[in-house]
């Protein structure tokens, strides 16, 4: 043959591409922290000492770290529920609502004085939470899967319904409500339904263990089961999935319901482990934070572990920072948001790079890459 170059190979992603995709969240977080430092400096505080205070607040003592883990629990569980949706190309942003529904379920069973062993009481409470949350999630999931309603709209709207439904449930004369309380809330859950405290002097409960297990299990499901494979196929190419024989609607329904289930567990963990009562606004945005956690993790269940810990460390440390340096508490929320924005931003610029690669291909319909 002639001296024709060997053609028809693939483009090997450059080191830059690899580094960018692997380190993307870290680079984003770093940029977010730098931008946050700028804002802290603007408020007249040395950013370095503020961040040191924050670190101390999160990791300075076993108690501090226990606090981080407590805060991480609902984020881990809710975050992984959102993450599996992201893998399927679905934005399941109804975690807040599922948490309320789960909390009501867990609360109802938890409040009741049942003549059973604590472990049984706890399991029953969790089952009730799951049942409530899944039933709650069935509406939006069905609307998305079988009626083509945008899942973001459906799930967000249900969040508001859940919040006010909770409020109604804990007002007298509903049976759950604490009689004669000055603030509408449910009665306290029974001692047998409480999650055990793992470390004295803290409120560390086993919620984070449940969360870690959930992340690992869902990672396995996504990677190693036919169900997970279908989920990833759906996320990459819904049309192709349909052609390849996937029951796309059913798959969407299941994935959204898994998110609801996780949300329910997350709500139950908050009630049985920490709050011990159900009341309006007890979730306080944790459901939405779960979405941010999953986003930061790029939908990877194992990544959710890291990003949930990061968010909760920021929260826990933020309180200390605020006390020690006078930087306002809301600053932690700002930093969180900056980190998410930068991670998305880095992702965007990465996509641009890939697009440019792709453009070369699309424009000539087919560029045969040379591997030199």
């Amino acid at each position: 043959m002639n001296n024709k170059k060997q053609r028809g190979y693939v483009s090997l992603p450059g080191i830059g591409d690899l580094a960018l995709s692997g380190l993307r969240p870290l680079i984003g977080i770093l940029l977010g922290l730098i931008a946050g430092a700028g804002l802290i400096a603007l408020s007249g505080v040395n950013p370095l000492s503020a961040y040191v205070a924050m670190l101390k607040g999160a990791f300075g003592s076993p108690q501090a770290f226990a606090n981080v883990l407590v805060r991480a629990s609902p984020l881990l569980i809710g975050g992984v529920g959102v993450a599996i949706g992201i893998k399927a190309g679905l934005w399941n942003v109804g975690i807040e609502g599922y948490m309320y529904a789960g909390a009501i379920g867990a609360g109802m069973v938890g409040i009741a004085a049942l003549p059973v062993a604590p472990i049984v009481h706890i399991i029953l409470s969790f089952l009730a939470a799951i049942a409530f949350a899944v039933v709650w999630g069935l509406g939006p999931a069905y609307m998305k899967a079988y009626r083509g309603v945008n899942e973001v709209v459906a799930t967000i709207m249900m969040n508001y319904v859940a919040i006010f439904f909770t409020s109604w449930m804990v007002h007298e004369p509903q049976p759950m409500a604490e009689p004669g309380s000055f603030f509408p809330m449910s009665r306290m859950i029974a001692p047998t339904a409480k999650l055990p405290i793992l470390m004295k002097g803290t409120s560390l409960h086993p919620g984070f263990i449940i969360g870690l297990i959930a992340c690992v299990v869902l990672y396995f499901v996504l990677r190693y089961t036919p169900f997970g494979f279908r989920t990833r196929m759906l996320g990459v190419n819904p049309v192709g999935s349909r052609y390849a024989g996937v029951n796309v609607r059913q798959q969407m329904l299941f994935v959204l319901l898994i998110g609801a289930l996780m949300g329910g567990v997350s709500g139950a963990v908050e009630i049985l482990g920490l709050k011990q009562r159900v009341y309006m606004d007890f979730v306080a945005g944790v459901g939405y934070e779960s979405v941010a956690v999953a986003l930061l993790a790029g939908g990877n269940p194992l990544g959710v572990i890291a990003s949930a810990l990061f968010f909760s460390a920021l929260k826990a440390g933020g309180a200390t920072m605020s006390i020690q340096t006078g930087v306002g508490g809301p600053m932690t929320v700002v930093i969180e948001a900056l980190c998410v924005i930068f991670v998305i931003g880095v992702g965007y610029s990465e996509r641009k790079r890939l697009e440019r690669l792709d453009v070369a291909e699309k424009e000539d319909k087919e560029v045969e890459y040379d591997v030199a």
Partner: protein
């Protein structure tokens, strides 16, 4: 250079590198005033990239561009338009929901900043339509226009901006032969006025017909420029591909089996807009034959394929595959092997790996799943076997298919669909966008399927490949089968007429 030749545009040493690809390697060419310059090259040779540089969509890594003798830097399409360059992309850049006229004036500042006065624009537009004999109704929303009319609209849009150099990227791909004639007339008129046209194509016939000079590009280099009068078909083919090319009919053993595999009776279906796309299609494909479906793009071929594979609902009629109703068969995707027209949208999962893409129909069956767990080792082994068998060029089975070239992406689809040895194969525009080598291997795979005894339905808008590959040929026009003929004895002129809906008798 003689004095009386005026150069409208000159590019010197243009180099453009994309990550991993050298798209243009020191390309120099010029286009004279009043001429049609043909830019000939295979897909992927770098033609479009070069023109996108000219239109300011890409910046060259090095090299210079001169417009009418002056060096210019074209940093945006706006600048290109200002310099009198007009471009008609292969994929039109029209806003579907705007009217034809609105699309034309889009981006041109109105004389009165607060008022949109369309009357003068309409007048000018209609006079352009008349002048170039390219009539498009200015009030109609562009999505209602045929692809051919949309292209004219793109040309009119460029002329409205007074383009003196018009770049047409594969303009005839979407046209019927008569629309093509009209386009060529308009091009001749343009050059008579002293405007220049760069005509990008990979089809020899039309390049030889319309151009004055031809520049051939291969692998990002200019292979040469020849005056069209002196150019010959074999020489151009050799320049373009780098070796002699044959386009003859593929030899094959005669068909032995006669069992009908696919039987369609009175099939009707709508297109995406809910308009009838298939009208009473009756078609039988037997085992061991390739039935070619010819026709201009958009005459129901896509809907035909989608009905058979179950991606589109019929509004009437029946489809049977080996005697089974198609709606039942679809539950078992191994019945039909489908090579879709849009491989990236239907056939592939771009960010899954090659190995994963090869099992998207069978992942849940053993040996790929055992006891509910995916066995990646088996999946990889399967992939490595197919990579070898179908000569898929990839560094490993663990690479995402998005990184493969188009030809190799198509081979992934072919390998998956054919490896199950389905009784029926539907190939819909299976070679679109592939270079000649990949086209040939797809042809060979299909022929192999036929010889194995599969019934093959081969849908293509490239007449040449339909004629070289088919045992029987049917022609579709506006959702109907215009006629059928033997592949051996087919006459290109008869097919051409049928593609325009002019012949309805069956030449069986």
């Amino acid at each position: 250079m003689t004095q009386n030749i005026e150069i409208a545009m000159r590019m010197e040493g243009i180099t453009k590198r994309f990550p991993g690809v050298l798209a243009n390697d020191r390309i120099s060419l010029d286009c004279r005033k009043g001429e049609v310059l043909g830019l000939l090259g295979e897909n992927g040779a770098g033609k479009t990239t070069l023109m996108n540089i000219l239109y300011g969509l890409h910046q060259p890594d090095s090299g210079k561009i001169f417009i009418e003798g002056k060096e210019v830097k074209i940093e945006s399409p706006a600048k290109a338009i200002e310099l009198g360059i007009g471009m008609v992309h292969q994929h039109f850049k029209l806003v579907d929901t705007l009217t034809a006229l609105e699309n034309v004036i889009l981006g041109i500042p109105s004389e009165h900043p607060m008022v949109l006065d369309l009357a003068p624009a309409r007048k000018r537009f209609l006079s352009l339509c008349e002048e170039y004999d390219l009539y498009v109704d200015p009030t109609v929303e562009t999505w209602r226009l045929s692809v051919g009319k949309q292209q004219w609209l793109e040309i009119l849009k460029a002329l409205y901006r007074d383009a003196r150099l018009l770049v047409l990227d594969e303009p005839t791909a979407v046209l019927t032969p008569s629309e093509g004639e009209q386009l060529f007339k308009a091009i001749r008129k343009l050059t008579k006025e002293g405007r220049s046209v760069i005509f990008i194509s990979h089809k020899f016939g039309e390049v030889l017909e319309i151009t004055d000079r031809i520049t051939v590009i291969r692998d990002g280099h200019v292979v040469g420029t020849v005056p069209t009068k002196e150019a010959t078909y074999p020489e151009l083919a050799r320049m373009m591909v780098g070796r002699p090319v044959s386009m003859d009919r593929k030899p094959r053993p005669s068909a032995t089996k006669i069992d009908p595999v696919l039987v369609m009776e009175n099939v009707q279906a709508n297109n995406d807009r809910g308009l009838p796309a298939l009208k009473n299609i009756n078609l039988t494909v037997k085992a061991g034959e390739i039935v070619g479906v010819a026709g201009v793009d958009g005459n129901g071929q896509l809907e035909l394929a989608e009905c058979i594979v179950g991606l589109r609902k019929r509004t009437g009629g029946s489809i049977r595959i080996q005697g089974h109703d198609v709606d039942r068969v679809m539950a078992d995707p191994s019945f039909v092997g489908y090579i879709p027209a849009d491989r990236q949208k239907v056939g592939l999962f771009l960010t899954l790996t090659v190995a994963e893409n090869l099992v998207v129909k069978d992942y849940a069956k053993p040996p790929f799943t055992r006891r509910g767990v995916l066995r990646y080792q088996a999946i990889r082994q399967h992939a490595n076997r197919l990579i070898k068998e179908y000569n898929i060029r990839t560094p490993s089975s663990e690479v995402q298919v998005v990184h493969l070239s188009g030809g190799n992406q198509q081979k992934v689809v072919v390998a998956r669909e054919m490896s199950a040895q389905p009784p029926l194969v539907i190939a819909s525009q299976a070679t679109r966008g592939l270079d000649l080598g990949a086209v040939e291997s797809v042809h060979n795979f299909l022929l192999k399927e036929r010889n194995r005894g599969a019934a093959v339905l081969f849908i293509s808008t490239e007449l040449q490949e339909v004629m070289s590959l088919s045992d029987r040929i049917i022609v579709m026009f506006r959702g109907e089968i215009m006629g059928e003929m033997d592949g051996e004895a087919a006459d290109i002129n008869v097919i051409g007429q049928m593609m325009l809906g002019q012949v309805t008798e069956v030449v069986a």
